[in-house]
Symmetry: C2
Subunit: 184 residues, 2 copies
């Protein structure tokens, strides 16, 4: 997880919009460790809705990375460079891929895919940016995962604009490779 | 708000239990600023369910404070020393009480009362303790408040046991007295 959330735990408004994040985007003063994080990543995972949203932003930002988009849709989606669509057993796919890569995997989102990953114990690292706002409604970061996960908190940092970054590691680790997960 | 929450935003399990907080309770090493906070408080607010839960803990912990319990129940409740039951217009009651006190008010919880207070703009300070655990389900700290509230983050502190304390102030302030709100 390398993801931004409101204090009340939403990663986007009900309609998926993230306008409230605009003032917290990477700026000349700091990129919140993004470039360092991004360089450490070999593969990017995201859900279909997140993919469509990123497409809507214009330029495809993950060109240098292998991207897997998880979808249950039959209809073909526009396909960016290096993007592959995956359906079927997510946990099996992820575990297989991990055995064949040493680099970290970044789970970009969204809510539904994060839920599956947490349920299936596929997440090892969480980097959460808490934005100083209560949205009141929206798409949850943790959507009643349905299982308990003990964490170990790591570095905590507060930025000038009020955003707070906290790092966590999942305590029960089953694999060695790491899956990360970032802002939608 | 002076309240403990899981990373996924729950203040208690579905059945109200807070067993997962036991290892994070005040200990000889630190009381997480509780005694200082408690000394600053003149009045305590809580909802009926929280009241019943605190009663179940045994000794009544708020004897020296004036406590108001908000309830819509007709049935009489056991009444501790200095406790009064309030029903009817919560916002009006709170605003009236504030005009007659200079000391801070502590909103103990729970979820339903916090929601009303946030909706009605009755909260000015939030002190949130994030416990390094994902519960997976439970009673939410912020239950789809339904309005957006901009915050200003203050002091951030990480404790040895992994708990992270963050302070917030509500940006649009309407009153001068402060309502606080703590662990259920």
């Amino acid at each position: 997880l390398y993801i931004a959330t409101s204090l009340d735990g939403f990663i986007a408004r009900e309609d998926g919009s993230i306008d409230w994040l605009t003032e917290y985007e990477n700026n000349p003063e700091t990129d919140y460790g993004y470039s360092e994080f991004y360089a450490s990543i070999g593969t990017v995972f995201m859900g279909r809705k997140t993919y469509e949203q990123v497409l809507g932003f214009g330029e495809w930002p993950y060109e240098e990375k292998k991207v897997y988009v998880f979808t249950r849709q039959k209809e073909p989606l526009p396909r960016e460079k290096n993007v592959e669509f995956v359906s079927g057993d997510i946990a099996r796919f992820v575990r297989q891929l991990r055995e064949n890569t040493d680099q970290d995997i970044w789970l970009v989102g969204g809510s539904q895919l994060i839920k599956v990953f947490l349920k299936e114990n596929l997440v090892q690292d969480l980097i959460v940016f808490v934005v100083p706002i209560i949205l009141g409604s929206g798409i949850p970061l943790f959507d009643h995962i349905g299982r308990e996960i003990k964490l170990k908190s790591g570095r905590v940092e507060k930025y000038k604009n009020g955003m707070v970054r906290v790092e966590y590691k999942v305590e029960e680790r089953m694999e060695n490779n790491r899956i990360r997960n970032n802002k939608v």
